[in-house]
């Protein structure tokens, strides 16, 4: 490497002073000297004019004053707001754990009245933008604050490693996603129903008509209750031995809680998709899968499932992708929250149903 540098330098030494294009073109000729000043003055004047006169382009973006972070919460909020369009900040198909915002995201947030967020570290890429939004008087509603939360599998299991980090964390005041609580509350329709009064409240504060919104909120709650009953009925036929599941990342905690399933392990040891699997945990999980006769690993269609695929191949079991964090744009199955839950429930049910049989 040293040699290369020397050669490069030697080679550069052959240039004459005339080669100094910057000097020749920008610095030396006298008639060019004032150029930067002229450009700067020009830009400043354009800026000043731009600031002074209200721009005509304001009407171009007709954004709803209410935003949601994920496409799932956007759909739920839109239903509660009687079909009002609610754009999601995180585009359909993106994994909220890892998505990065753009300057346009910031512009959308600044133009909104209120934002529905999940919280608990799910949208960590947006935390700074939300801090600024709060400072600007925009309502940032965290739905995980209003439902009963469950611990993550790691915190719940209380294996030695998980325990240790928990203990040290309780001393730490500003831990968010690492508080040992699972953020994936939307995968339980009952908990979504519990968030609806908060969404209604937010809408009324943002100037929506109280009577209208309360009716729509109630109607949507009823649809969700029907969905809940439908999934319950579907899962009734499962025997106790069919009710153990393994997932890619720790995302199905609330679903399992609602429909009486047991998550015995996850391939990625966290509620966050951006972590790495470790060898010891994977080996232990493989043993657990074999001994519990689990025949399927449920993965997330938005994020990488290479570890799950490899494990499934090794143990000769199935991988079934679920729509856990985002709606889908193309297919019918993930078009709305209700459709997404129905699709997931059917996929889980049919995978588990076969597990009892050879």
């Amino acid at each position: 490497m040293g040699d290369l540098t020397v050669n490069w330098r030697r080679c550069r030494c052959r240039h004459s002073e005339n080669d100094d294009i910057v000097l020749r073109m920008i610095l030396i000729p006298k008639r060019w000297r004032m150029m930067p000043v002229v450009i700067a003055a020009g830009m400043t004047s354009v800026l000043v004019v731009g600031c002074a006169s209200p721009t005509a382009s304001d009407g171009e973006e007709q954004l709803s004053p209410i935003l949601a972070t994920t496409s799932i919460w956007a759909d739920i909020t839109s239903e509660v707001l009687c079909g009002e369009a609610v754009p999601s900040l995180i585009p359909i198909g993106s994994d909220p754990h890892t998505w990065e915002p753009s300057m346009a995201t910031r512009a959308d947030v600044d133009a909104s009245l209120a934002i529905i967020t999940n919280g608990l570290g799910l949208e960590s890429g947006l935390d700074d933008i939300f801090d600024s939004a709060r400072a600007n008087g925009i309502q940032v509603v965290e739905l995980t604050a209003v439902v009963e939360l469950l611990p993550t599998l790691a915190a719940h299991d209380g294996d030695d490693e998980g325990d240790q980090s928990e203990d040290e964390h309780s001393e730490d005041e500003h831990s968010h996603s690492e508080s040992g609580l699972d953020p994936h509350i939307w995968l339980d329709p009952q908990r979504v129903i519990d968030t609806i009064p908060t969404i209604v409240e937010m809408a009324i504060e943002s100037g929506f008509d109280r009577n209208e919104i309360e009716v729509c909120g109630e109607e949507y709650s009823n649809s969700l209750r029907e969905l809940d009953t439908e999934i319950n009925n579907l899962f009734e036929s499962l025997t106790d031995s069919d009710r153990t599941i393994v997932t890619n990342h720790d995302s199905l905690g609330y679903f399992a809680d609602r429909y009486d399933l047991t998550v015995i392990g996850t391939v990625l040891p966290s509620t966050d998709t951006s972590t790495e699997a470790n060898a010891a945990d994977l080996a232990a999980l493989a043993d657990l899968i074999t001994s519990s006769e689990v025949t399927t690993i449920f993965t997330d269609s938005e994020s990488s499932d290479t570890d799950s695929q490899a494990l499934a191949e090794r143990l000769d079991i199935n991988v079934v992708p679920l729509l856990t964090s985002s709606l889908t744009s193309g297919s019918e199955s993930g078009r709305s929250y209700i459709e997404l839950m129905r699709t997931n429930a059917n996929a889980i049910h049919s995978a588990l149903q076969h597990s009892g049989q050879p």
Binding site: R12, D19, V22, A104, D127, A154
Partner: protein, 286 residues
């Protein structure tokens, strides 16, 4: 094509309409002033790999500081200085060439950061340090970046002769009464300070792009150190501005877009340079 057909709309109105865009451009420009002046010496002295290692070497410091609830910038600075010390230690106590000792520590620090993060479950807030928060720069960030920019420029100007002689002729530098090793250490410390000051704005994954790309582009067109620095600042500020406006119009991740524009500028520079050289050769022949 709006950027050509309606230039005001594309280039100016995002800034005119939004205070956060003006703050972002200002913060990115301050980052460029720090990184381009220091980066010029990084490029000229062939320290790019060390710069890269430092940019990522701050991560374990950030992770530890974040876990124990300490100031993350302080943690990052300690990690960066530990990296500088470690590289020198490995270099002086082993027969390995520079790049091998840097590589060893680079990988060591990076994996340490990943191990710490995974042991403490989820990387949640660490995203902020990997990708920065140029979308929501506040006044405090701008003030601290401005202070670092002033300190950087003053130090670089003060050390100019020592660095110049030390880079191209170590013996003469020693004869002239400069202490090349000390100056080198000061430069490394300055790189560490610049990396630490910039990572919260542009992110620790991309701060390296700001350190290397603008000076590299500028050095294609000039061999005078001071004009490389000035040209690098102009290129860096222009790239950041273009990147931010692109991120605004096309919804691309903000700091990655800025870094990418910086790199595209470098390749455009190579094309322009070879065109100029070709034309000169032709002119010389006729």
């Amino acid at each position: 094509m709006t950027w050509l057909i309606n230039p005001y709309e594309w280039w100016i109105s995002p800034l005119a309409d939004h205070a956060f865009m003006r703050d972002a451009v200002l913060a990115a420009s301050l980052v460029v002033i720090c990184s381009a002046t220091v980066g010029t010496w990084v490029v000229l002295r062939g320290l790019s790999f060390l710069g890269d290692a430092l940019a990522h070497g701050v991560l374990p410091g950030i992770a530890i500081a974040w876990i124990i609830g300490a100031n993350t910038s302080l943690g990052a600075l300690i990690a960066a200085l530990a990296m500088v010390g470690g590289v020198n230690l490995v270099k002086s106590s082993s027969p390995l060439p520079d790049d091998a000792s840097i590589g060893i520590l680079f990988v060591g620090f990076l994996s340490l950061a990943v191990v710490i993060m995974s042991a403490y479950g989820g990387s949640g807030d660490l995203n902020r340090f990997l990708f920065g928060s140029i979308t929501s720069v506040n006044q405090r960030d701008i003030v601290s970046l401005a202070i670092v920019a002033v300190v950087t420029v003053v130090t670089i100007v003060a050390l100019h002769r020592a660095l110049l002689l030390g880079t191209f002729d170590v013996d003469q530098a020693t004869l002239a009464g400069f202490r090349p090793r000390l100056v080198h250490l000061a430069l490394l410390t300055l790189i560490a300070v610049v990396v630490v000051a910039s990572f919260e704005t542009v992110g620790s994954l991309l701060v390296f792009a700001f350190l290397i790309a603008p000076p590299a582009t500028a050095s294609l067109f000039s061999r005078r150190v001071s004009s490389i620095m000035i040209f690098a600042i102009i290129i860096g500020v222009a790239s950041s501005y273009i990147g931010l406006v692109m991120s605004y119009h096309h919804r691309s991740a903000a700091s990655a877009t800025m870094a990418l524009v910086n790199i595209i500028m470098f390749f455009a520079g190579i094309i322009i340079r070879s065109a100029i050289t070709k034309q000169r050769t032709r002119a010389a022949l006729h």
